[in-house]
Symmetry: C2
Subunit: 490 residues, 2 copies
């Protein structure tokens, strides 16, 4: 297996190569759309399963709404429509026919033109709020707490596997509430769920905060986000939770009768994470040998590679391995005994390193003699011999240790690469150097835009529970009451 | 809650009403597309979870392929393309813009026309086999055993919730094999998986068989199916598994190098079930009071309804219910204690009957005195008092009994409504009466078509392991070697 380009040499190329070589995803024949390969998809399934449980534990149910949105619904909430209109896949016809001029070829049947065009959903607020209108009459019908797992399409011009694709998979929560407070609480609860998921499953520390007006979701009153720092010093928005106010309720005339018999517009939230998380996971932890996976999201926890000559040795090793494997499985771990005779051990080692399997066991004739195995951990690449009768406990503990170590490493990286600056020269240097930059900002969109033009840095967020601190904006010198987080971002 | 139209009065209307009143699904603003509501979706999730496990236990992995198929790929396998061309949603543009003539309205931007139109997948063989071409070089790369859970679109003109919708959810397995035998074995294995799932989870007996040439999947060599009988005597195709031969390998030039160094085309299968199974489930078991669910697919196993006056009685009942609920949950059951004070017990009873909750417990002041509860089973509507200290075991056993009873009832219905006939008059009468009709057929598409025109009956399948039996075709009088199954069908 050919080596990866190193991160220091070309980070972007390293990423692109890793995604393909670790069998995570690849570009398809369709512009901007990816194929998520079985190994990559099994990581996404682990993410889905953990998130889905967290959503249900907080009272949400799954449902499914149509892929298509009629244009007249799509345009109802104007800001939302404006935000997505430029990148929409549009269905205009519903039939193909034989091309009379080309034997065996098909053409769009001009007689099968739709009366109203259908937009392939870039997000589902419009179709969902049109539906909620029929579901909501009284306060008894609230709250509605629904999530859907779905594919969405945004016709991005520059795409990259997982990070930005024309079609991607995501979940979108859409909730309806009687009061502003309830909706705000929900918005905050869900950004907390995302931050917890990032920390506990992805081993990825994030900053939680509010987006500035210019970075908000189109149609939202407030957008909460989690921001993670990648190894190249760029930030990545990993999840968002939107307080939508009454914007969609007004656009679709969704009112409810209060206990007191009054008619009020309903309050809304929406929140989502996508297959983009796969990109974050890859870039947060992986190294020049390939993927590094936190055990909690690893499809295979332990790979066992026999080192043998001849079938007799393989049999001996297999007999030794069988109880280890079954004991590990009793602990809920996924174990792969790789006895393929078509590949050599060195090749297998490289493959499991590339795929980020957290623990690898190697066992050969010398190990049989000593009744040991060699245990290698992926995160540090350290190896050590472990007695067979201790190996199960050793590995169970080691997996926890790896999960913690990956998180701690990422957190240390984030701390080391977060810089407080107080003047524009230091700001520009810090941005050039990479990482989060904490700086005073005067609160105006104009200054934000100037800084973006001059440095390519954007305000990633105004951190939640931010310390109030008097200061002056690094760009305008105007007064500021708090620091915000800047970075170049994906 | 208003009563359903009865089945005998109008079966079709009964179905439509039930789907909406049991909160399963509803029509959306998009022609032919449905909204699957949370309760309906939770049943589908149970189906998915059981099927997904069966697929993984038989060695398959999930992956994800693009929603869109470029027209040139779509038309590559001609029979497949021809089969779906007439019902395709076609994306022709990738941007909207402000309509200069209508303030606040959007229009398709004529400058954003795609060079090549994209078909919204009606099925994914084309895009998947184009991808497999890059994955398969040698026999070492085979078999490929992949499934995907996805939405697909077929522009049906007449739609019905779950049974036939323009967009539906399904899984589609796509496998690639070195030999014809392996591919045939896979095709049979997967139809067996579907039959097992139908029997063990849906409590629905099915006939497994082969489709005739005229009823095959477009692009298949052989289509295996499972056919179920609905309560109105119509058949419903509940799942299909296709042996695709080398058709797609040839269309996309997918060859592999054998161990002996020869180049051979790859053999293919595909297989799928969809949200149509929800329609089958509903129509197989439900009654005039609403849905009847097999416990294995029920989102709520037990609903507990307190009958009380005042908060003191409710507290007493709640205290009595708490340990019952928690014990039932320890058995892996989902229990809902419905202490809403906004609805009366009678309303709740009707609601849980409508939603098909298998077991309902009612508990009031008299039960408290006697230390009993009233247990009602949904399948037979029988009620009986049960002592509190026996209720958990009683219900655990009762749920198994209900699962069995529902299956046995459906099987008896199928047996009673399967008729062997030997002449065309009897055939026509039997078809008119409803049910499966077992009759001799001469094997020709012409006769099959004549029978369809004359009676609206189609050949549902040639049963697997069919007894060979000499006879004469009921329509043509020509010789026949076996009986096949006819019915009117959904």
């Amino acid at each position: 297996m050919a080596k990866l380009t190193s991160r220091s040499e070309n980070y972007s190329q390293w990423y692109n190569e890793l995604v393909v070589k670790a069998d995570l995803a690849e570009n398809s024949e369709v512009r901007g759309c990816m194929v998520i390969k079985p190994y990559g998809f099994s990581i996404w399934e682990k993410m889905q399963s953990a998130l889905d449980k967290m959503f249900k534990d907080t009272g949400h149910s799954n449902a499914y709404f149509p892929l298509f949105i009629p244009k007249s619904l799509f345009e109802a909430e104007e800001k939302n429509a404006e935000g997505f209109a430029k990148e929409c896949a549009v269905v205009t016809h519903y039939r193909l026919k034989n091309d009379p001029n080309k034997e065996g070829k098909l053409m769009v049947d001009p007689e099968a033109k739709l009366e109203e065009e259908l937009i392939v959903r870039p997000t589902s607020e419009a179709i969902i709020w049109k539906t909620y209108k029929n579901w909501i009459q009284s306060y008894r019908d609230l709250p509605i707490l629904i999530n859907q797992w779905a594919n969405v399409v945004r016709w991005e011009m520059r795409t990259r596997l997982f990070l930005r694709t024309a079609e991607f998979l995501w979940q979108e929560g859409h909730t309806a509430h009687a009061t502003k407070k309830e909706a705000l609480d929900e918005t905050e609860q869900m950004i907390n769920v995302y931050a917890t998921f990032a920390r506990d499953f992805m081993a990825m520390p994030v900053i939680q905060g509010l987006k500035t007006k210019s970075e908000q979701f189109a149609g939202a009153e407030e957008t909460y986000c989690i921001e993670a720092l990648m190894q190249d010093g760029k930030a990545l928005q990993a999840g968002t939770s939107h307080f939508l106010g009454q914007n969609f309720a007004q656009a679709f005339d969704v009112k409810y009768t209060t206990k007191e018999g009054k008619q009020e517009f309903v309050w809304a939230t929406s929140w989502g994470v996508s297959t983009r998380l796969m990109g974050a996971l890859i870039m947060a932890h992986s190294d020049d040998n390939g993927l590094v996976l936190p055990p909690k999201l690893a499809p295979i926890h332990v790979a066992i590679v026999p080192i043998y000559k001849g079938s007799e040795q393989l049999e001996e090793i297999s007999a030794k391995v069988a109880p280890i494997k079954s004991e590990l499985e009793k602990h809920g771990l996924t174990v792969k005994f790789d006895n393929r005779d078509t590949y050599k051990p060195g090749f297998k080692f490289a493959e499991y390193e590339m795929k980020g399997v957290p623990v690898r066991i190697a066992i050969g004739p010398k190990d049989l003699e000593k009744n040991t195995v060699e245990v290698a951990r992926r995160d540090t690449l350290e190896k050590q011999p472990v007695a067979v009768d201790q190996v199960v406990n050793h590995i169970v503990n080691l997996l926890d240790e790896i999960q913690d170590n990956i998180f701690n490493r990422a957190q240390k990286f984030q701390e080391t690469n977060t810089h407080e600056v107080n003047d524009y020269d230091s700001f520009k240097k810090a941005i050039e150097q990479g990482g989060f930059v904490s700086a005073h900002w005067d609160g105006s969109s104009e200054t934000e835009e100037l800084i973006k033009q001059e440095t390519k840095a954007t305000i990633r967020c105004i951190p939640l529970n931010n310390q109030k601190q008097e200061g002056v904006c690094v760009r305008s010198g105007k007064p500021s009451s708090q620091r915000v987080i800047f970075a170049k971002a994906y």
